[in-house]
Amino acid sequence: MLHELTSDQDMLRDTTARFLSDRVPLSKMRKDRDHPAGFDPAYWTSGAELGWTMLLVSEEDGGGSVSGNGAADLALIAYEFGKHAAPGPLVDCNVVASALSGQTGDLQSAVLQGLLSGADIATSCLGAAPWMQSGSESISIRRDGDDLVIDGTVLPVESAAQASYLLVTGMSEGGMTQVLVPANAEGVTIKPLKAIDVTRRFGKVSFAGVRAPASALVGAFGGADAEVARQIQVAAVILSAESVGAMDAAFDMTVDWAFNRYTFGRALASYQALKHRFADMKSWLEASHAISDAAAEAVGKGDGSAAELASAAKSYIGVQGVELAQDCVQMHGGIGVTYEHDLHFFLRRVTLDALLYGTPADHKRLIAAMQINQEMAA
């Protein structure tokens, strides 16, 4: 998280932090593991009132940032989500909201308003992505007269069973296409999945010849590649900031443990072998803060470096966040892998965040492609 926040930013962050502590403490999450959605609708609408879904939406469309950089503001919310291992489709609702901001169609506007108020949940079915080899995408979208026809299956889709709308990304002739589809459209099947996470819910979404009118397009048919890449940057910023929050929580808890746990008459924190590992973890943690903040800043501004910074954050934090959480488990010993302990919430969070919207390996390959293009051009 940034060292220097504006007072508006700090209020935004603090309000969310207090709301999450109050509404979704880990004790509640621990009990709610079989709750079908993972949260109550009122939780989400209250969160939307706090600004969770508006920060990437233009003021004309009813949104607005608090600092002028919506991604940087949103990263503060995401950080607190990670720090509290909070439930709810923060990533997907913001990805869809940012995709719909500035779009003119009636459907698009209606869905966006539902997202802003928190009344509706919309989620992203990413059946084609920039890191996929051609032919490996899982959703195809073709034209049939004035209609679009969608086929394929995609997983994991967060809060799929709770969503009213799906932003479907598939491959078409010429490139990627994005379409907004009601979750209850004919031919759409949503199956809840099992997950290693306790707080979040995912589904598998299948499209069997699902038809949508051309007016449901978001962007041009076959021309959404750049927009999809931008949405992935947004997701990378949110997921990275979330993981940094989870890393902070796990690390702080483990430092406390090291001070309070005595063995052979000495605090764990006095053993040099452990001290050096804490020092390494601290370096990963600060590095993760640094790259997460830089990515948020650049993506919010739309800088030329945004894609590279977002992928650097996603790939670095995706690996090192998980290693940090696992090292925290190791420092705790047996108690660190019990369900009663809090640590696993953060381990699950960073683990799953690392996989959503492109694995660390996917993002490393994206960075390599950028490097290669740049050196070819030079």
Binding site: D197, G334, T338, Y339, A361
Partner: protein
Amino acid sequence: MSDEIESVEDFRTRARAWIKANLGPVQGWDLSQHCEDDDEEREAVARDRALQRKLFDAGFAGICFPKEYGGQGLTPDHNRAFNEELAGHEYASRFAVPTFSPCASTLLEFGTAEQKAAHLPAILKGDEVWVQLLSEPGGGSDVAGITTGAVRNDKGDWILNGSKVWTSRAWWADWGLILVRTNWDVPKHTGMSVFIMPLHQPGVEIHRIERLNGESEACQEFFTDVRIPDSDRMGEVDAGWTIGQRWMYHERLGHNSPYVCHPIGQRKAGGPAEPSTVALARRSGRIDDPAARELIGEHRALGIVTQQLSHRIASAAASGKGNTDMSSIDRVFRGVASARRATIAFELAGATASVWDEDEEGATEAVGMNFLMRQVGSIGGGTTEISRNVVAERVLGMPRETSGDKGVAFRDIQRGPKRG
């Protein structure tokens, strides 16, 4: 012992015939102690008790235990022969560890004649499953730092208070072997005693501990004014660490103890079966991706190296060129390698290791859970950190860590941050 002991080969032939005639094929719940739910586990326990009784009735229970306690009075070689013949057959897997080793082994070595007569036959007949009550919530790597204590009342009985933890399957077991503090005014190793106790009695509360993967075999026991008659004390008062060290030796032997009935050469398993790395890469469509292939190769190479290292350490010990401290090298390597292998499998599986359709074939749930649990291999049975100390200090001869408790009366050892 009689001189007219049956030869190992004769014994093997007789054992083979009996096993083939009387024991069915090995079951999933023999290979893995994992059961789907408590009802299945109760059923498995009942089956194991019956199997153990069957062995006893046929004269094959407790092959290395003395005849006077219901055993067969034979040698470790006989036991090994039986275990080799047992491969592929059902067996009383829930008796092997910790009932036979370390519990019955320690009882045999240190129990009073009365204690042995009362319990060893009961164990061999399948009537008593035992657990070891050693670790404590505040303990971790410092085994001798226990604070669960017993004080003697005016009737000569002992009153136990405190808690033990990480006791596997205590919720359905019968008896426990317990190390407790009986003197707080002497340094930590000289103020402990060992007792035996029934697990289900007034003052004992047993909680099950759920792990993050949903499994809950481990338990924590809370003791509140539990009465233990002095006749259930094992060894001298305050001399429990002498027993404790042998007890831990038997614990390390585990399934390799001559007192344990457990098939040799049986594939080990734990939890739901994990798909191969090749299967994982194929499922995620990456079988031709060179990066995935490097991971498959690394996973396999690490597995081979792990095996070869264990073999080297074991054969060094057997030939007298190694020592028991060297097993800590193996322990460090296994811990690190198993974590790396779990990570590789997780990477190969991609997103479906974390989020999966439980109705699908070859679901990768196990891969995701193994990854979350990957540090267990570096924690359970003493952390890799303790093993690294052993390697540095006892194998490489480097100076020992200064401890804060050497020569200090136990009650004065610092056990937490100083207040105020």
